[in-house]
Amino acid sequence: MKRWLAGGSVLVVLALVGALASPYLISLLTIVLLFTFLGQSWNLMLGIGGQLSIGHALFVGLGAYSVALLDVKYGVSPWIGLLLGMVIAGSAGAVLAWLSFRFEVRGIYFALLTIAAAEFARIMFGGWEFVGAMQGLFFPAPTGAIDISMLRGDARFYYFIALALAALGIVGTEMISRSYFGYVWRAMRDDEQAARALGVRAFRHKILVIAISAATAAVGGGILALVQGSIFPDSIMGMGLSVDVLIGPVVGGLGTTFGPLVGSLAAIPLNHLMSALGDCLRIPGLNSIAYGVVLVLVVWFLPDGIWPAIVRLGKAVQLPSRLWLLQPRKAEE
């Protein structure tokens, strides 16, 4: 319950910020919230389903292109584009998973396959005139008027969309965690063979969790495309984006509901700050170095991430009866 109070109050503060903050802060936080959502999608797959993706840009990109193509070329509402993106990315994820697990490609080899697929798609889209090739796709210039059916509006409008998405991601993650799927997926994550011995049909559950993760990543990608106003294969489907997606949950706490939010809040502003500082001091790449340092520090000192550390702190303060946890364990056989 305490977690919900803490996490919920962060969201309330973010809503207030959206009403009051400067345009710069709002667009920065919009990106934070979108990457919170993308982080949740990635976290569902690794943190709960136990399947590592380092090519999530594939699904993000498929969602972004679905929205952009329909909107830019045919004037079709991004709502339809988001749905189409979910179907396409979900299917791509399912097919990738099916092929991979059918041929016993698993673990780190599956992760390599996700990069390969993302890179393949990036190169393909970069050479495909219909989708704008390397020149990318540009949404019509914003008029500033809010149009919900076409998902068009000012920075504040997108901020609240991103906030809603992040909140939906938190509620959705929690609901899945507490459902049949959450238990079965976590069992499969912890020990696939043992889970199968208990009747878990791991093959289909792995495909399912990957398809769901891919479909939600596509939603984040579609909104990201709208926020940016343009998409290019190298940025929306590149390796850099795959890394950006996983920074939040890794820093914030793998498999936790609030980790991606906390991690994105910590990592993305730092990235922007360091990038600005780097420009000032004429040290290109300072942001990447800072990213690396923070990652190393977190992995070293808080290997479970920031969020579990906050939770532990809260518990240690309030529940001294838990001290029995500290008693020495009995020796093994």
Partner: protein
């Protein structure tokens, strides 16, 4: 009497090593059978073959009339065979209760139903008081009992227990024996690997003895312990009960 499980001429080789060699036996429904033999005799491999974790090199496993030797483990479990792992395999990042819930999801999607089943399973092995502990806070004997509880939550018709009482104090073991008896009275068929002969004599109505992968004896416990072949295989392997 009809057999719930029939193992027919089952063999499994690992490279040149024949771990299970042409073994046949049948389990009658509602009985407790012990599978015994010195270390390396092929008992765990037998379990793996029956549970679908490994494919046999040759031979058949028939459960309730269905051949299952090529079925994957999740299907074998859903047909009604649950097994424990001799080297315990708890789900590390799940609580004791959550571990015990997983098996229930093989027959229900209701989280509440899974939870109450898990509590019952934990209760029957004496772990209900530790339901909210992490698995790494359990002692090894407790982890073995957790394996048993996980398996029970699947509501099996046949339960395969691989040395689950190892490390238990005699009073604790007696408690588990009582539980197994009760389960068997309720119609559960149990095949257990157990090294302590006193427990085998007490709980099993039949004993199958393996040695170097082959079945060397089978019968009522008191017959089997009097069998010179069995004595020799145990003494020869430096067995001490």
């Amino acid at each position: 009497m009809t057999a719930l499980l029939e193992v027919k001429n089952l063999s499994k080789s690992f490279g040149g090593l024949v771990a299970v060699n042409n073994v046949s036996f049948a389990l009658e429904a509602g009985r407790i059978t012990a599978l015994i033999g010195p270390n390396g005799a092929g008992k765990t491999t037998c379990f793996n073959l029956v549970a679908g974790a490994m494919r046999p090199t040759s031979g058949q496993v028939v459960f309730d009339g269905h051949p299952i030797e090529n079925a994957p483990p999740e299907l074998v479990c859903r047909m009604g065979i649950a097994r424990t792992f001799q080297i315990v395999r708890p789900m590390r990042d799940m609580s004791v209760l959550e571990n015990a819930m997983v098996g229930a999801f093989s027959w229900t999607r209701s989280v509440d139903e899974a939870r109450s089943t898990a509590y019952e399973s934990l209760e029957s092995v004496g772990l209900a008081g530790k339901a909210n502990a992490r698995t790494d806070q359990l002692t090894l004997p407790d982890r073995k009992m957790l394996e048993t509880a996980k398996a029970l939550s699947t509501r099996p018709r046949l339960l395969l227990l691989d040395e689950v009482m190892a490390g238990l104090r005699p009073t604790e073991a007696a408690g588990v024996v009582r539980v197994l008896r009760k389960l068997a009275e309720g119609g559960l068929t149990i095949l257990l690997v157990e090294h302590v002969m006193r427990i085998v004599m007490e709980v099993a109505s039949r004993v199958v003895v393996l040695h170097h992968g082959a079945k060397i004896a089978e019968g009522r416990p008191e017959e089997v312990v009097a069998d010179p072949m069995v004595l020799e295989s145990y003494l020869g392997a430096g067995f001490h009960a």
